[in-house]
């Protein structure tokens, strides 16, 4: 093991699998910067939470790092122009998302000069904590491990919450992906400078860097950069999904994150090493988040990691890595275990895109047709959440969603271990995703139904009350009349009935009057003229008929 790597008591989280790594494919060449592109498509939703709202209009001139999307609501961060140029449009464009839906994007035509806004390094030591977080929110910092949760929220230690341990996540447990590996090899001290800021903001006492032991070069570089400080660089065993936040926390500290909680509940905050690096750039260099490192690997000419401006079309990024080779069968965004199929290669790189994996038939053969579950229990042994995936599958398949919840469906992190080991090749995770979305949909329906019922009940109550009030009023009037002797024989009940009848007749009249032939509303002028002409002819005929009759 590399010198400086700290030996530490480690804990083995349950389950996990050992898929083939394919990491060395893309680590032979250093990180290269993508050449400037003529056009960028920058989605306004690149993070978890509310999308940013555009603050530019077509025709506007922008500089690199200029805010083009303002954070909207609390869980949101800013979006910035990746280069200088002119805004062409603010419109719906394909984005990298499993759904294949479009999203609002700012399209920027580069002017080739790549002029930046004046960088504003932050005086993080002396700045007010809340002001610093606000700056990071504006600068667009979000977790670059794939979840893209706004970093400023995670950097808030809270009023009472103690977060003594900061973990830098360099595990990178997904096969094929190497962007964190390369970043740690090449920019270790910058990562640690970012971590210093995180530690300061969280008031953390300890900083641990967890790196899977299949990355000896990254371990050595990080350990060298950490030499002389009290940052512990720890080699953790290579087990997928060892880079999951809860899993890495357990591996390094033995602390078990509660089922519905966060790692901060056990005093640990976890950040991806890439996020630490972007924080360094934001704080020390004053640059907002406009680029990230992306691994382009698989069936491409020269697999490698590239520093890519956010908004670069994925097809261009694949081109920069030698292009897809003949026989490519599609692209996965992210890793093979949790990534999703790309629908449209014109979609841009966002903060969430850590890897573009071009598939071929050799490494991604079509899945054999699924057979029935034989309850072998392989899935349960592989599940890092210690669930019983075969039971969840059984109930999800039979749409017994209540049972799926009592078997802790929502503890499933969709890591894919169960599907990976299933000898019947059942797409188990798809069933869990289906069950989850059905439950969410039902939850929404139920809320809507509850609301409707409440409204209906209130309406019934109001109508009954109005009826009663009216009856009382009429009774009062009748009795008044009775007292005055005007209508001696009228009893209040008859008067009430008469009034209701009169009202009903009146309503019916109004309804008849209100009914209009709907299909002749809003006709275009020529149609209307045509109809008028026909009506006029009809009138003529009618009057002619009348005259001939007489």
């Amino acid at each position: 093991m590399a010198t400086g790597v700290v030996a530490r008591r480690l804990y083995r989280f349950p389950g996990g699998v050992h898929p083939e790594g394919h990491k060395s494919v893309s680590t032979a060449t250093p990180i290269a910067e993508m050449p400037l592109l003529p056009r960028y498509v920058v989605p306004l939703r690149q993070h978890i939470g509310e999308p940013a709202s555009p603050v530019v209009q077509p025709g506007d001139r922008v500089l690199r790092g200029q805010l083009i999307g303002r954070p909207e609501g609390y869980v949101s961060v800013g979006v910035h122009a990746p280069t200088s140029g002119r805004v062409l449009a603010v419109e719906m464009r394909p984005v990298p998302h499993p759904s294949g839906l479009m999203d609002l994007c700012v399209v920027i035509e580069a002017d080739g000069e790549d002029r930046a806004v004046e960088p504003t390094p932050l005086d993080w030591h002396r700045m007010d904590a809340s002001a610093l977080r606000n700056r990071l929110r504006e600068m667009g910092l979000a977790g670059l491990g794939g979840a893209v949760f706004p970093s400023f929220i995670k950097l808030n230690p809270g009023a009472k919450r103690q977060i003594p341990i900061l973990i830098l996540n360099g595990a990178e447990c997904e096969p094929w992906i190497t962007c964190d590996d390369m970043l740690m090899r090449e920019r270790a001290s910058e990562i640690l400078m970012g971590a210093q800021v995180m530690r300061h903001m969280l008031c953390a006492e300890e900083v641990l860097v967890g790196i899977e032991d299949n990355k000896p070069e990254a371990l050595a570089c990080m350990a060298e950069a950490a030499a002389g400080s009290d940052v512990e660089v720890v080699a953790v065993p290579t087990v997928y999904p060892g880079g999951g936040g809860k899993q890495l926390t357990y591996t390094l500290t033995g602390r078990v994150t509660p089922s519905k909680g966060l790692t901060t509940d056990v005093g640990v905050q976890v950040f991806n090493v890439g996020t630490a690096y972007s924080l360094y750039r934001a704080v020390h260099l004053g640059e907002p988040l406009v680029s990230r490192v992306v691994t382009v690997t698989g069936h491409v000419g020269s697999p490698r990691s590239l520093e890519v401006r956010l908004g670069s079309p994925i097809a261009e990024v694949i081109g920069a890595a030698g292009g897809a080779l003949p026989g490519a069968t599609g692209e996965v965004i992210g890793g093979p275990m949790m990534g999703f199929d790309l629908h449209d290669a014109s979609a841009p790189v966002t903060k969430a895109v850590n890897c573009i994996l071009v598939k071929n038939a050799e490494h991604f053969p079509p899945k054999p047709p699924p057979l029935p579950c034989i309850r072998c229990g392989e899935c349960a042994r592989a599940c890092p959440a210690e669930l019983q995936p075969y039971e969840l599958y059984w109930y999800a398949r039979h749409r017994d969603f209540g049972k799926t919840q009592s078997y802790s469906l929502f503890d499933c992190i969709e890591c894919g271990c169960c599907s990976y080991v299933c000898p019947s090749h059942i797409p188990l995770v798809d069933f869990y995703r289906f069950a989850k979305s059905e439950i969410w949909a039902r939850e929404r329906e139920k809320q809507a139904a509850d609301l409707a019922r409440e409204r209906h009940e209130f309406r019934s109550y109001r109508l009954a009350r109005e009826k009663q009030e009216k009856a009382e009023r009429l009774a009062k009037k009748a009795s008044e009349r009775l007292e005055s002797g005007a209508v001696a024989n009228d009893d209040p009940e008859a008067a009430r009935k008469k009034a209701i009848l009169a009202a009903a007749i009146e309503r019916a009249k109004q309804a008849r009057a209100a009914v209009q032939p709907k299909n002749v509303d809003d006709l275009p002028a020529d149609k209307q003229r045509e109809i008028d002409a026909i009506e006029a002819r009809r009138q003529q005929h009618a009057s002619a008929a009348q005259t001939s009759d007489t």
Binding site: L371, P372, C373, I374, R375, L387, E391, C422
Partner: protein, 344 residues
């Protein structure tokens, strides 16, 4: 379009699981042929043929694709397990009836692969021992004790053409379990009875070596992670404990633990039958309860029941309890406190 993950582990399939189970049975089969003659090949073949006949028929009637289900290997495992549980050299229709119950009733009437509540081979065995008890006790004697051991051609003749001129007495004998039962009920002392040659070194001449080979095959399945340790350990432990308890209570009527471990279907049951994942409990604690109770029942049925061996009935009884056991032995989910766990 199916979502993530986009890769699956190599060489995992239902077929490979089943083939491993079959491979692990081979040492036991070879030793069986060595001690009891080539009759085993005939019964294996007859069971296999009827297994595929009934499986094809059921799949065709259910409008299911033939290829994936005929090649998954599961029906072959059922056929071999039933053949190894039945006396060799029985008439062919006995195997046919057994396979009919195993494949059509126990497997396909319950919904086919993965859906059966009961172990198919054990359903076939139970149907036969209830319907044709006389045939089920005529086991070939070990070759060195038998007056005559039929060779392969004679075996085929016996299975297909009936007993013919050769008297079954010439080549069959009561099994050690049967002998012990009969003689002890007749007033004999267990220890004295077990001096007879049919009891061999450990408790069953010939059969004890077959049992050791099943143990070997079972250990191979364990090392290849086809089965987990829970079921064999709990089952064999419970058999040994219960037998020891009875032996200590009354040594004159009950044989010791070693005999119960090697006799009858104990080893086959421990590693190949109780471990059938479809009909077994699947939670770790559930497996211990399921197999432990099955071991206890096996010895109790052998000691006090109406049939010589108890493995099949113990397995079927515990199969029934599996949904209940599983529902109440759900492991704790990572990050969930023990008492917070909702009962499913």
């Amino acid at each position: 379009m199916p979502g993530s993950p986009h890769i699956t582990a190599q060489h995992t399939s239902v077929r490979s699981v089943m083939l491993k189970v079959l491979a692990a049975l081979i040492p036991g089969i070879l030793v069986h042929a060595w001690f009891f003659g080539p009759g085993i090949w005939v019964s294996l073949l007859v069971c296999t043929v009827f297994a595929y006949v009934f499986e094809t028929l059921a799949l065709a009637m259910r409008n299911l694709p033939l290829k994936p289900f005929l090649t998954d290997g599961s029906v072959l495992v059922t056929a071999w397990l039933l053949a190894l549980s039945l006396p060799t050299l029985a008439p062919w229709w006995l195997y046919a009836v057994g396979m009919l119950f195993a494949v059509l009733v126990a497997k396909h009437l319950y919904g086919g692969l993965g859906q059966n509540l009961f172990n198919p081979a054990m359903v076939g065995y139970a149907a036969l021992i209830v319907s044709f008890p006389a045939y089920m006790t005529q086991w070939p004697a070990p070759m060195d004790l038998a007056g005559h051991t039929p060779d392969l051609l004679e075996s085929i003749d016996l299975v297909f053409a009936g007993q013919g001129a050769v008297s079954p007495d010439a080549y069959t004998a009561a099994t050690p379990l049967d002998t012990l039962r009969t003689l002890v009920r007749a007033g004999g002392d267990a220890a004295a009875v077990m001096q007879e040659p049919v009891f061999g070194h450990l408790g069953a001449r010939g059969q004890e070596m077959v049992a050791l080979m099943y143990l070997l095959g079972g250990l191979l399945l364990l090392t290849h992670r086809v089965i987990s340790w829970h079921i064999p350990v709990a089952f064999l432990g419970a058999v040994a404990l219960t037998a020891t308890g009875l032996h200590l209570l009354d040594a004159s009527r009950h044989a010791g633990p070693l005999f119960h471990l090697v006799a009858g279907g104990t080893m086959l049951g421990a590693f190949f039958i109780l471990t059938d994942p479809v009909s077994a409990s699947a939670t770790p604690r559930g497996k211990l309860i399921y197999a432990g109770l099955a071991g206890f029942l096996t010895v109790i049925i052998r000691a006090f029941g109406g049939y010589p061996d108890g493995v099949a009935f113990a397995v079927l009884l515990m199969n029934m309890a599996v949904p209940f056991i599983d529902a109440h032995t759900q492991p704790r989910v990572f990050g969930q406190a023990g008492k917070d766990r909702e009962r499913p």
